[in-house]
């Protein structure tokens, strides 16, 4: 690699560029080969009888199950779309609640000493409880409705939102604050116009973690107590000994999680870019 770079002199630019393109092409080809091999080995292992078909269905069968679930209610009583909507509703309501409460709390905690002194101990007491461990208490308090599940998701998403906005705003450059103060900005103005914008990248990192957490906690919440949703579908697949249904649920959950995090990075790019333009 280094040798190739050293040889690079003016006229060789196009050759170098071609080489780069070829290498990129090779890379993507290898990616495809890897994924293809993964599915091929899986399929061959099942059809050749190396893996028990009752425990590990072939990828084609899983694919068929996914398609089938879109118009068939059996065996868990809901079509795929109903399940997806139920899960999204639960996850997003808990997640949005955590964002709306957690980020302002974290920002205030990181900026004002009095707020930190009061809220920090409470937060530190609640923080180490894994969200899943809240499930029995929340179910006893609220039953198994949307409210209960959203609250469990809220706990899982709340912690990263608070921690990141707290750290993010504490890392604000002292110079910026002093400049604002010199120019006669009031304390609330400094908080609003200097502290919050400078903490945004960290806040977004927290929101991203929160989204991942809420989507994975959702599965646990639904597996333990629900009547619809992807986690419920997986759980039904397990009790009915339908591994194809279980894997289909896992695939759909993984795919939606990836899509959600993609949407979030798009929003992040737009928002943080806007921030830059504003400061210019």
């Amino acid at each position: 690699m280094a040798g190739a770079d050293l040889k690079l002199l003016g006229t060789d630019y196009q050759i170098w560029k071609k080489k780069q393109r070829r290498e990129a092409g090779q890379y993507y080809l290898l990616c495809l080969v890897g994924i293809f091999c993964f599915f091929a080995i899986w399929q061959i292992a099942v059809t050749a009888g190396l893996a028990n078909e009752r425990l590990l269905p072939s990828p084609l069968q899983v694919f068929e199950t996914i398609i089938e679930k879109f118009y068939q209610k059996e065996p868990d009583g809901n079509t795929m779309l109903v399940n997806i909507c139920a899960s999204l509703q639960v996850a997003l309501s808990g997640f949005l609640l955590a964002v709306v409460i957690g980020i302002p709390l974290g920002l205030v905690m990181g900026w004002f000493r009095l707020a930190e002194a009061f809220f920090r101990p409470i937060f530190e007491l609640v923080r180490p409880v894994p969200p899943i461990a809240w499930i029995p208490l929340v179910v006893v308090w609220f039953g198994i409705g949307l409210q209960a599940k959203a609250l469990i998701i809220f706990f899982s998403a709340f912690v990263p939102c608070v921690i990141n906005s707290y750290t993010g705003i504490q890392l604000t450059n002292r110079t910026y604050i002093n400049v604002a103060r010199t120019f006669g900005a009031s304390e609330t103005e400094i908080f609003r116009k200097v502290g919050i914008p400078s903490s945004l990248p960290m806040v977004f990192a927290g929101v991203r973690v929160a989204l991942g957490n809420s989507w994975s906690t959702l599965v646990a919440a639904e597996m333990l107590a629900a009547t619809a949703g992807l986690g419920y579908m997986i759980q039904q697949g397990r009790t009915l000994a339908r591994p194809d249904l279980v894997i289909a649920g896992m695939v759909v959950i993984g795919a939606i999680g990836a899509v959600l995090s993609g949407i979030l990075s798009y929003i992040e790019k737009r928002l943080i870019k806007g921030q830059k333009n504003e400061s210019n």
Partner: protein
């Protein structure tokens, strides 16, 4: 004047945390006396805690349950560390491996660890092995991603220096690349411990004979909320303890990570 204001501020900042904790305690007591069936009070929880020693749940006292959970996490984590960091180094270092293996890992990574639990239970039952395997599978992807990201971040100039001084591939890897990537590897280890702990609790809640997660389920099914709270508090305490231990360890293993 300014000095006086500061000292008042300091005193307030010492008192406020105490008030906050008192608020929680009073809120808990008030809620539990108003709804004794929904939430046991602190005294009741403490009595239940004592009773886990005199009257063991499932013939195991509380430390036994704690040890059952910890052992599962530890065994799963050790395997995940060895294999995950090894694979992460490979994926980060070699471009071809990254293309072939990295793409498959990217495909499997978005599946949440908890979603693996039903499948693993179907495959291996609810025995010890399946718990360890769930911890393993729930933590390995994060480890691989963190390690390979750290390896990719190594400054190319450092590698070139190693080459100029006649280091072979293995020397460059073990003496330049891995030490540079160590903070990022350690970040992966920290995340793996906390997510492993959460995952094992979830796995035990879905079916186990011993362990803190099984205590939660037992209390829940037996309508024994005090036992649930004892288990939840123990889970939280041990999770907090693990994270403190790890940040101490981080200072020893990679001191250059501190600013």
């Amino acid at each position: 004047m300014e000095k006086k204001k500061n000292s008042v501020m300091n005193i307030v900042c010492i008192i406020l945390p105490v008030i906050a904790v008192l608020c929680i305690a009073i809120g808990w007591i008030a809620f539990s006396t108003a709804n004794p069936r929904l939430m046991p009070g602190p005294v009741e929880v403490f009595q239940r805690f004592i009773r886990t020693f005199t009257n063991p749940v499932a013939r195991v006292i509380l430390p036994g349950h704690i040890w059952a959970s910890l052992r599962r996490v530890l065994i799963g984590l050790i395997f995940a560390w060895i294999i995950g960091i090894g694979l992460g180094v490979l994926v980060g270092w070699n471009k071809k491996v990254r293309a072939v293996l990295g793409s498959v890992l990217e495909l499997l990574r978005p599946i949440p660890p908890i979603a693996w639990i039903p499948l693993v239970i179907m495959w291996f039952g609810i025995g010890e092995f399946s718990k360890v395997f769930i911890v393993f599978i729930g933590t390995i992807f994060g480890l691989i991603v963190n390690t390979s990201a750290g390896i990719k971040l190594v400054d190319k100039i450092n590698i070139d220096v190693g080459k100029i001084f006649g280091g072979n591939q293995r020397q460059i890897l073990t003496e330049i690349v891995v030490p540079t990537a160590l903070p990022s590897i350690f970040a992966g280890i920290r995340t793996s411990v906390s997510s492993g702990w959460t995952t094992v609790v979830a796995a035990e809640m879905l079916g186990a004979k011993a362990g803190l997660g099984s205590l939660v389920t037992k209390g829940w099914q037996g309508n024994d909320m005090a036992l649930v709270l004892v288990a939840v508090i123990s889970i939280a305490a041990i999770g907090a303890l693990l994270s403190v231990l790890l940040s101490k360890l981080e200072k020893v293993v990679c001191p250059w990570n501190q600013i």
